[in-house]
């Protein structure tokens, strides 16, 4: 009983507060960078695609709306041959961003993703891949991974010793 009265009181008090109307869409709201809306795929500091098609975002996605198909370039990089998000299903939970080991997939504050046709809510890689690093700057997965790619030989990643010389029997 006490709870109900208390709630009623709080709601009633709102009658006295000043009205606030957002002027949207003429006035765009300013949202914090961590706001979770439109999803983008970013690039590393060298301008290379960050995504390595590991499929972790797809696995983390509770509504299964991310489809990734792995491809491999001639110099050994894994990359997504297909990267597709069905925004008709996406619930903007941000799990994909949390799961991503390369900081490739990021949610942005751009929430204006509505459309008239459901078909156009299915976004492919060309719609998702942006030119920059997004909000996570500086991370380059390939510099910490052990797999060699063109321009980064074995032993050339961060904290790696030169490849073992197998003929060497010294302790």
């Amino acid at each position: 009983m006490k709870g109900i009265l208390e709630s009623l009181g709080r709601i009633g008090a709102k009658l006295a507060t000043r009205k606030y109307t957002a002027g949207y869409p003429e006035v765009k709201p300013e949202l914090p960078a961590r706001y979770r809306a439109r999803i983008v795929l970013t690039r590393d500091p060298d301008g290379q695609e960050r995504c390595v098609a590991c499929n972790l975002c797809a696995a983390a996605c509770p509504v299964d709306c991310i489809d990734v198909v792995k491809g491999e370039t001639d110099d050994g990089r894994w990359y997504p041959e297909t990267f597709r998000i069905n925004f008709a299903r996406c619930i903007f939970c941000g799990f994909c961003e949390e799961a991503c080991p390369t900081q490739a997939i990021q949610l942005t504050p751009d929430f204006e993703t509505a459309d008239y046709a459901r078909e156009s809510l299915v976004h492919d890689k060309a719609d998702l891949l942006i030119a920059g690093q997004g909000k996570q700057k500086g991370y380059r997965y390939w510099s910490v991974a052990g797999k060699a790619i063109g321009g980064k030989d074995k032993g050339a990643a961060e904290d790696e010793a030169a490849p073992v010389d197998l003929k060497d029997l010294t302790p």
Partner: protein
């Protein structure tokens, strides 16, 4: 077996005595972390991950930390997995193993089905403390089948223990010292062993993986798996075929306790992927593409003229039974020469005497005689089994000294290298020579006489030294085993030997193909019968179901068939020589598109299911549509019922797997794993269909993730092991009864030979083709990497397969004015560069089976320089 009682983490358990604590725990469903232990390879105690606290009994309150894999179970033992000190030790072991491990999971094929990931999670290690440099390695190019990423190695030695110790390979080894050890070859190059592909499953990390899978990659949690049967040879290994987007991405071992156990051969793993190569999609009439309906109508018109049917040793029982129904039993023949049809028929008769040896039983034999067969080429997995047979004597000696076989290194030492007596009688040097006590070389026609001499020696007759020695070894054995391939004379010799040896003797008879035995059980005669019927005008049309005749019979005989038949109707899944020559062509399903039943070399009927949805129509469905009065075969179960009515001897095959109406408490069995990501985005380029998953009318399996998973399903329907926390092939010991025992709910398959009366012994046994006349006697060369006309289409296996061979003894070549490297034609076949080989018996020509000569041919052939 006696039992012992012990407690694990406070729960009292009863387990079989004589095993190690790790095997016992896994069998009970208690996940003790482990690396170097492998169910098939035993314990070596190298990785120290399986630490547990063991108390000897109630009075022992302190206990001690022990390696579970090295500790035998004992009465009254108290085992604590959760002991803080043991837990801490396991966590530190993993931390050390991870010190040099690359930050690779995202770009590692193993990820998601990685034993190292599983163990890391199981021991709670999640933060890296080590801040120094990681050691790195260069990779090697190991050929077209496997990847190599040595940085990921944790030095568990499973790979070399499998490759060298279990599979007898020589070219993979460990190099270097201490934490820099390297597992690879002396130099880059393809791994030689035909079992190398198993490294992808044996290695608990991402060092070795399936290269083809990496190319068309999908994570394990994103692929739907289907239980299928390998059609690469008569062993009938059980496989998982993993599919995504309608494409088979990978084939892996599916545990079967009596057949393949933990391993398959490379032909099965990589050759089965022929289904991803160009396929036969369009029907044809007179060489031009036509709608299926039109081709079917044309075929029906031709059939009305009277037809013979040629059943296939690689097609399912259902397809063969349908064809037999279409043309009638008198006009139903096998697409193989009479000699093979008869030899396989005799195999069935001998197996029906209850002497069939499974691969498991082969491993348990204590004396073996192999007559004629190049086992590694004919039935590769059986050759791997024979290698374990060879070790039996050493294990027995070790056991006498009180060292159990699971204590791998100790048992090898205590076994003093003793070898089970194995006599290998083959025309050419054999891949198994290194495990043979007697590696005897005999010309093909001298092998059956040797077999008979051994049988005579068993009866007390005088024999030469070798025959007498072999007879003594077989006589002294409790479980002697005779192994032969599809050669009429050798089958009889083997049978006679088994009878002379008494009830304990077993026969391992390997017919050439996956369903050779099933076809023989339909009672079909050989190709010659079909040719005679056509030539006599009793029929004018020939219907060939899923077989390339040129692969299986002499060109001359096949040409006679094509000349005598007015119309040849051929059904197959891929372009073959027979398809090219046929008048009417109908595309039908390959193994990945339709369910079917296959009878393996022991007479075990096994069901294979469709791995991809919406495939081409199954062979028997296409044949149903050819019937004048279409039979009411809608589903596989209808077809099986019709088959059981027509061929009562095959009725038990219906029980190979539950029928399509079978339901579990959770409904059907799900092919797809729970995770199956991307379902609402995948394949939706520019559209949003809200479709339902494809339905399978021929199996109680769903093409979705809804339904039962893992061990909730009956063994014949398992689509995965589905053990929580264990995602790799290392989960297999959790679903088996003992590390190498049967599946907990029983191994799948139904025997069709049980209760079948052996066909009356032929008084005049199969005639040995008299090797008379001019020319050279053919000698078949099998190759584990070759396989039949379909398997040879698989690009990666084909890359690994040696070029076709024609080899002569140097003196025979010189007598014909032929020199090494010269293109020569054997019996008019396409020219092949000649090899000179002193191991080829004089008067013979050794040539690749299927590619140069049909198998089993014995009539002399011409070998001429090709112009």
């Amino acid at each position: 077996m006696s039992k012992v009682r012990l407690t694990i983490d406070g729960i009292e358990r009863e387990v079989e005595a004589g095993q190690d604590l790790l095997s016992a725990s896994l069998g009970l469903g208690v996940d003790v972390p482990h690396f170097c232990w492998h169910a098939a390879l035993g314990s070596v105690g190298a990785c120290r991950l399986c630490a547990v606290r063991v108390h000897d009994g109630a009075e022992d309150t302190t206990g001690r930390i022990e390696m579970a894999c090295m500790t035998p179970v004992a009465e009254g033992q108290r085992v604590e997995l959760a002991d803080p000190e043991a837990y801490e030790m396991r966590a530190r072991v993993i931390e050390w193993l991870m010190v040099n491990h690359p930050h690779d999971c995202a770009v590692c094929e193993e990820g998601g089905a990685c034993h190292l990931q599983d163990m890391t999670v199981a021991t709670g290690h999640h933060r890296r403390r080590y801040r120094f440099t990681k050691r790195t390695h260069r990779n090697q190019d190991l050929g077209p089948l496997l990847t190599h990423e040595m940085n990921r190695c944790i030095a568990c030695y499973r790979c070399t223990r499998f490759y060298r110790g279990y599979a007898g390979g020589r070219d993979l080894d460990v190099f270097g010292a201490h934490d820099r050890v390297y597992f690879g070859r002396y130099e880059d190059g393809p791994l030689e062993s035909p079992f190398a592909g198993n490294l992808a499953e044996v290695c608990p990390t991402g060092v070795f993986n399936d290269k083809g899978w990496s190319e068309t990659y999908a994570r394990k949690w994103d692929m739907a798996a289907t239980p299928v049967i390998c059609t690469g040879c008569s062993v009938g290994c059980n496989l998982f075929a993993a599919e995504r987007d309608g494409r088979v991405r990978r084939v892996q071992n599916r545990y079967h306790g009596a057949i393949n156990g933990h391993f398959i051969c490379d032909r099965g793993r990589f050759g089965t992927l022929h289904v991803t190569e160009d396929r036969l999609d369009a029907a044809r009439v007179g060489g031009t593409a036509a709608p299926v309906a039109e081709a079917t109508a044309a075929a029906r018109a031709a059939l009305a003229q009277g037809a013979v049917g040629l059943g296939s040793p690689r097609a399912s029982l259902e397809t063969n039974a349908a064809l037999r129904h279409l043309v009638g039993p008198e006009r139903f023949f096998a697409a193989v020469p009479e000699r093979e049809a008869r030899a396989v028929g005799r195999m069935a008769a001998w197996l029906a005497t209850g002497r069939a040896a499974s691969l498991k039983e082969m491993e348990q034999a204590d004396a073996v005689l192999v007559l004629g067969a190049d086992l590694t080429g004919v039935a590769p997995r059986a050759a791997l089994a024979l290698r374990q047979t060879a070790r039996g004597a050493a294990d027995a000696l070790a056991a006498e000294k009180g060292v159990p076989a699971w204590l791998d290194n100790a048992a090898r030492g205590a076994g003093e290298g003793r070898k089970t007596p194995i006599a290998l009688v083959t025309p050419m040097p054999d891949a198994l020579d290194d495990v043979a006590t007697w590696a005897l070389r005999r010309a093909p026609e001298e092998i059956a006489p040797l077999g008979r001499a051994v049988a005579a020696a068993l009866g007390g007759a005088a024999a030469d030294e070798e025959a007498a020695g072999i007879a003594r070894a077989l006589h002294g054995a409790e479980r002697p085993l005779i192994v032969v391939g599809a050669d009429g004379a050798l089958v009889e010799a083997a049978g006679a030997l088994a009878e002379a040896l008494g009830d304990g003797a077993r026969l391992a008879l390997f017919p050439p193909e996956a369903n050779s035995l099933g076809l023989a059980l339909t009672g079909a005669g050989g190709l010659e019968g079909a040719v005679a019927a056509l030539e006599a005008g009793q029929a004018r049309t020939a219907v060939i179901a899923e077989a390339d005749l040129f692969e299986r019979a002499e060109a001359e005989l096949v040409e006679r068939l094509f000349a005598a038949a007015e119309t040849v109707v051929a059904l197959d899944s891929a372009e073959t020589e027979t398809i090219r020559r046929a008048d009417i062509v109908l595309p039908v399903a390959d193994w990945s598109e339709a369910a079917g039943t296959f009878v393996n070399h022991e007479g075990r009927a096994q069901r294979s299911f469709a791995a991809v949805p919406n495939g081409r129509s199954a062979g028997w469905r296409a044949i149903r549509d050819l019937c004048a009065a279409a039979p009411a075969w809608e589903t596989l179960d209808d077809m099986l019922a019709a088959m059981a009515a027509d061929l009562p001897q095959l009725a038990p095959a219906r029980a190979a797997a539950p029928d399509a109406a079978h339901r579990l408490p959770l409904g059907q069995v799900a092919r797809a794993p729970w995770r199956m990501s991307g379902r609402t985005a995948h394949d939706l380029a520019g559209r949003v269909p809200e479709g339902t998953p494809a339905r399978d009318t021929d199996a109680p399996l769903a093409f979705s993730m809804e339904g039962a998973h893992g061990t909730d399903a009956p063994p014949a329907l398992r689509t995965g092991y589905a053990v929580p926390g264990l995602h790799s092939a290392s989960a297999a010991p959790r679903v088996t009864d003992g590390p190498r025992g049967p599946l907990k709910a029983g191994d799948p398959g139904a025997f069709v030979l049980q209760g079948v009366d052996a066909p009356a012994r032929e008084t005049a046994s199969v005639p040995e083709d008299a090797a008379t006349g001019a020319g050279l006697i053919p000698l078949a060369l099998d190759d584990p990497f070759a396989g039949d006309e379909l398997f040879r289409r698989a690009a990666r296996l084909a890359d690994r397969c040696p070029a076709p061979v024609v080899a002569l003894h140097p003196e025979d070549a010189a007598a014909r004015g032929l020199a090494a490297g010269m293109p020569v034609a054997v019996a008019g076949a396409a020219p092949v560069a000649l090899t000179l080989d002193g191991d080829v018996p004089r008067g013979h020509v050794a040539a690749s089976v299927g590619r140069v000569l049909p198998r089993g041919a014995r009539a002399p052939v011409t070998v001429e320089a090709a112009s």
